[in-house]
């Protein structure tokens, strides 16, 4: 009887631990429309989605040694050939939506962080959590989001955002500039 109770309690404890919802903090700064207005003022932007081939992604990865996670490039273009790209950067414990403005020649004109989501643990590797993106919401995981306004903590490095920007400038050099 004692053994049965022990097994029952252990299983309940383990189940409770594994099913316990993990909190993910998030902060939204700008919408895509606001970012467009800040980076391009009143210039007309036309949607110009691009799908990278596996060979192109591999070539970009080889050139800069940074992983290309998504083959689709969420891009807009101006009449003069400048680019506006929405991208997602995944750090060790965070998921960041970025807006980047590139000139026709590929130089970075501006960068805006649109959304910052922080998480801890295996959640980062969960496809649904990673799918949280502008226009691609996963309601199951967004329920766990908690809007936190002011946090003062240890300084967080933004190196992975720099990697994301390098990946996009290389994508422009190898693919977008030829379109």
């Amino acid at each position: 009887m004692q053994r049965r109770n022990f097994i029952k309690n252990t299983l309940l404890g383990l189940a409770g631990f594994t099913l316990m919802p993990k909190i993910a903090f998030s902060k939204t700064y700008l919408t895509i429309e606001q970012a467009k207005k800040i980076l391009f003022k009143d210039k007309m932007l036309t949607p110009f989605p691009v799908n990278l081939t596996d060979a192109q992604a591999e070539s970009i990865e080889n050139a800069i040694d940074i992983r290309v996670r998504h083959l689709d490039v969420n891009a807009w273009r101006t009449e003069s050939g400048d680019w506006f790209i929405i991208d997602q950067v995944i750090g060790k414990h965070e998921n960041i939506d970025l807006a980047i403005a590139l000139s026709k020649s590929g130089s970075v004109q501006g960068i805006e962080v649109l959304t910052y989501r922080e998480s801890y643990g295996s959640q980062v590797m969960h496809p649904k959590w990673r799918a949280q993106f502008h226009g691609k919401n996963s309601s199951e995981f967004l329920k766990l989001d908690k809007q936190i306004t002011n946090i003062s903590g240890a300084t967080l490095s933004c190196r992975h955002v720099t990697d994301g920007i390098n990946r996009l400038t290389e994508t422009h050099k190898q693919v977008l500039s030829l379109l």
């Binding site: 993990k22 909190i23 993910a24 903090f25 902060k27 939204t28 700064y29 700008l30 800040i38 414990h93 960068i111 805006e112 962080v113 910052y116 922080e118 998480s119 801890y120 936190i148 306004t149 002011n150 946090i151 003062s152 903590g153 240890a154 300084t155 967080l156 490095s157 933004c158 955002v161 720099t162």
Partner: protein
């Protein structure tokens, strides 16, 4: 006019810089003001960054490292570098060496800073050949150095950048600037803030703002590498949890967090009283100790 809000975030100073603006003004006014704030932070970054090889600080380091034995170097400083160096040297004196901006060689050795100045740090004894803040004198905008040394303002420049940026904000606009944990608010009375003391998301303590500025230091994002160096021993200090400091300026808060971590309990209280600051130490389990 209704209350308009704007929240923006950019990657500057090697971290995420957030700006929250509120005011009974047009959206375009808030956007222009946010641009002005980011430009000011960028300006300070170009002056005081260790990583930027063309910054005023890098040029000063280059000259200070090439100093021959027995030679003295005298350089005129910009108003910004003079202000930061003067305060750093004052704090060095007050803490009897527990706060020192010349720990760059130790940080380069542990690969937390790049070695673009080609510092000779291959052997542990080489670290002893560098000078410290006792070899620096800052007086009326002129710095005098009498031994080769290397300065890193990583533990103070972010706070100074936040102060400079906040000074651009007019009284009728509410502003909060947060540069990687170094935070300052224009209308801070009654505001609440979350202090993060460990890596897990739930490790937050909500407190009332005690003053205009707040800074927090911790090692929890660095894995096993500690970013805090004891200037008196040259060794990296193991520190779990966080140290937060409220004061009237983000530069003071930023520098005091490091000084307080390395000080004894009595010294912490002495520092807090002298600078009219409040220190909050939270260990990794969430237990709080106050120093004021």
């Amino acid at each position: 006019m209704t209350l308009n809000k704007l929240a923006r975030c950019k990657t500057l100073l090697g971290t995420f810089v957030e700006i929250d603006l509120k005011g009974h003004v047009e959206d375009s006014v808030l956007v222009n003001l946010s641009e002005e704030i980011f430009d000011e932070i960028q300006r300070i970054h170009h002056l005081l960054s260790f990583h930027d090889e063309t910054s005023e600080l890098s040029q000063l380091n280059q000259k200070a490292l090439n100093l021959a034995v027995g030679e003295t170097l005298t350089i005129e400083l910009s108003t910004d570098l003079n202000q930061v160096l003067s305060f750093a040297l004052e704090l060095h004196q007050f803490t009897r060496g527990n706060y020192d901006i010349t720990i760059a060689p130790s940080l380069v050795k542990s690969k937390q800073l790049p070695n673009h100045l080609s510092l000779n740090i291959d052997k542990p004894n080489n670290l002893l050949s560098f000078g410290n803040s006792f070899n620096l004198v800052c007086n009326e905008g002129v710095v005098t150095i009498n031994k080769p040394l290397c300065i890193d303002l990583g533990g103070i420049a972010k706070g100074y950048a936040v102060d400079c940026a906040l000074s651009k904000v007019p009284d009728y606009i509410q502003c909060c600037i947060n540069a990687g944990g170094d935070l300052a608010m224009s209308h801070w009375q009654g505001e609440r803030v979350n202090l993060k003391y460990a890596k897990r998301s739930s490790a937050l303590r909500t407190v009332k703002m005690q003053n205009k500025a707040l800074a927090t230091t911790g090692n929890y994002h660095r894995g096993n590498k500690s970013g805090i160096v004891n200037p008196l021993t040259g060794k990296h200090v193991k520190f779990k949890g966080s140290m937060s400091v409220f004061s009237s300026q983000a530069m003071i808060s930023d520098a005091l967090t490091k000084a307080m971590i390395l000080s004894s309990k009595q010294q912490k209280i002495k520092i807090a009283k002298y600078y009219n600051a409040q220190g909050i130490k939270i260990n990794r389990l969430g237990f709080v100790k106050l120093y004021y």
